[in-house]
Assembly symmetry: D2
Homo-oligomer: 258 residues x 4
Amino acid sequence: MEDLLEIGGKKIACRLFLGTGKYAGNAQMREALLAAQADVVTVALRRVESGAMAESILDYIPPSCTVMINTSGARNAAEAVRIARLARASGAGDWIKIEVIADSRYLLPDNLETLKATETLVKEGFITFPYMSPDLSMARRMADCGAAAVMPLGSPIGTNRGVRTRELVEILIREISVPIIVDAGLGKPSDACQCMEMGCAAVMVNTAVAVAPDPVEFARAFSLAVKAGRLAYRTGMPGSAAEARASSPLTGFLRDHD
Amino acid sequence: MEDLLEIGGKKIACRLFLGTGKYAGNAQMREALLAAQADVVTVALRRVESGAMAESILDYIPPSCTVMINTSGARNAAEAVRIARLARASGAGDWIKIEVIADSRYLLPDNLETLKATETLVKEGFITFPYMSPDLSMARRMADCGAAAVMPLGSPIGTNRGVRTRELVEILIREISVPIIVDAGLGKPSDACQCMEMGCAAVMVNTAVAVAPDPVEFARAFSLAVKAGRLAYRTGMPGSAAEARASSPLTGFLRDHD
Amino acid sequence: MEDLLEIGGKKIACRLFLGTGKYAGNAQMREALLAAQADVVTVALRRVESGAMAESILDYIPPSCTVMINTSGARNAAEAVRIARLARASGAGDWIKIEVIADSRYLLPDNLETLKATETLVKEGFITFPYMSPDLSMARRMADCGAAAVMPLGSPIGTNRGVRTRELVEILIREISVPIIVDAGLGKPSDACQCMEMGCAAVMVNTAVAVAPDPVEFARAFSLAVKAGRLAYRTGMPGSAAEARASSPLTGFLRDHD
Amino acid sequence: MEDLLEIGGKKIACRLFLGTGKYAGNAQMREALLAAQADVVTVALRRVESGAMAESILDYIPPSCTVMINTSGARNAAEAVRIARLARASGAGDWIKIEVIADSRYLLPDNLETLKATETLVKEGFITFPYMSPDLSMARRMADCGAAAVMPLGSPIGTNRGVRTRELVEILIREISVPIIVDAGLGKPSDACQCMEMGCAAVMVNTAVAVAPDPVEFARAFSLAVKAGRLAYRTGMPGSAAEARASSPLTGFLRDHD
């Protein structure tokens, strides 16, 4: 009956994963997480370690949430691995979103370095979520070496352009054995809904919510849309047709009254 | 705080209007209406008048719903007007979805006959909802003569092809003073969500729900998606960008740990 | 063998119709028409009648071209009819693109007034080309009353947004007996190519060519693209598939060399 | 004036590269190559080496064409390298399309093995054209190690689905220093035209032409479309707009005649 995503030893009810960057403040972020009933949130390690005096962002994350540290800022596998180890050492847990970016304009992930980091971190017992440019051969390697899920981008980070990589993401969904979680580029609730209808296990959203005029209500909207798309996928989608099919009895009506 | 659609003297909370055709049975239809918390449902007059002995479809519509009789089967304005009058005479109320179809392959509405029927029925005190092929000049005439809303099609009836007329529907939303309700062709919750994000006042769905593997859950999914899209529209959508914008602090991270 | 469009008693080789507005000058316009080998060009009547002293735009149109006067500026049927009659009286011929626009923001045609003007002008012996918002019921009336062709818009005039009305235009192509000529909104040669592949009889382009950095070469590009699309349509398009099909022998190759 | 693609020491006029698989016969293939005025054609090595008695496909390729041997059938870098060496040894030249496919359903390339083969073959003096799943980080490595061009797929081989990877291909065009040649999935001339307008240096087509009802005319259509798109790109595309802009003088016309 219940529809839980089992991943990394946890059972997750909310398939909308949220980021924590770009909010106007920690209190607003917290409200957005609560409005969405988020179960998984990503945090950049740097933001965790803001020093003894500063308040930690972690204090604002509801205790029911699982924190996934992202390796934002890493430019290669070695840096990503180092960030992951620092995260674990600082008590931030072992869920790691592996983000290795060498491109400064589109912030696209480096699939090869990401794969290397995944291989290393899986061996060290991390629960890994590699963020990647959608490509079947690399996604398969990530899954084969033990990634908990694969996170292809919908479009470049922060662009709100939607699932422009749909053709490739749909292939990942059919061919890869671990959950597919679209991350990056989703700008509207309908984008997230569409991903779930396609069969994604979850989606990750940050910018669209954090920079919306009303982040709390926008988080709620995304959460509803994810539920809608998931429900439609689970219960089965009807097909589409090239020509019309009447939904009401069309002909002969008036004859009966003549 | 509350977000009600005021139309024809009523205040409507649920912006997902549902049809009643094509369900496996009346009990299933009723469950779907309840799952969606539908406030407005369309019924073809023929199905209302199934004779004294037969059970009426109306008995299965929750009392909280407003019934909108559709003129399905009408091939011209005169036939549509006659159906509307019969509906009123039979006690089915004066909310009329004006559907005039002369095309048997795509079931596309005849805008000119639809306009004529609208003019006549408005004068007779009906609350009219003309179903139309999206066209600014005809939609404006319908609004000017007193239509309660204008219902452009997303794609041909029953095709589940989505909002293929988006370019024209968006123009109606900006230029027409009465509510725009996309009717026909919406096949997935994300289609409905997208319509609401664009600024539609409501959407109407029949085939996609009624023929889904699980109509009740699919109705629920559509209802959630409509809420999501409406909430996003109301609170304001963020824009999109051509290039990436980091959602986490990207640079300098590792330097701090060197 | 030859593929000529027969319309209004003429046989037309070039299925790219060009407008004459917005060029930097008449000489440039003439060069563009020649580069495209255009056979049909539209001219606003006002621009024909620039007074005795002024040079006429008509002097710059190659003699092989058929001039189609457009009723640009008309806000209703009566004005369009008047312009058409003035055009004939001034010797500009009887090919009339009927353009009736009541909307100042999107410049969308008024289908009902356009139909009325078509009815009148057909009776007066004009060869009429009504410009319309794509709608099957109105297009059918225009064809039935004698329009030489029907010209649905691809997107609003001058926007270069392409064939956003594709769903409706494809229906016109299948259901309407006279040639369908997409007019307005085509911004790139590939847009025009796509229209021809769909089965349009011709396309009309003005803004995209006239405001291009190099109108002459852009006209040539559009002309090639129209030829390409037409040729593909005539000889038959292959279908598409959901899964891959090898184009080269894939397996067993290396075994042969082992 | 002339617009030649310089690649591998050659100057290429025709930016439509054609494959040689799937034709009904060699004579038809030859006619298609001539109709397109193709300068570059790919051949699977296996088809070159059909034995002493059999006629060779190479006899049917016009002498003006440069032959690019593809490594179709290779499942890893080692196999691709071996095919390339065999090709050179058999006198088929040193232009190699590196195709390494490990996926039997979508025939998607294995980017990592393709990169390895590219590195090896470049060192051995081959002119390499790696076929890849579009991904910036891997394309950059291929270019950096000396690939003559990078060939991202538009959609899976033989599907005729068009440029579904547009978002990623456009990024390659802007960020990668070697020519980008879209290969696979282009089904219509307008697809090829669109690629060229985006700024691709060339496109490669096989299935759509070879299985068309009339391959010779379809090759001609593709060739025209590629020329059109290239010309538009070179001379500069106009932008697009959200609202309409009149192409003819709209107002005041009739006042002049009142």
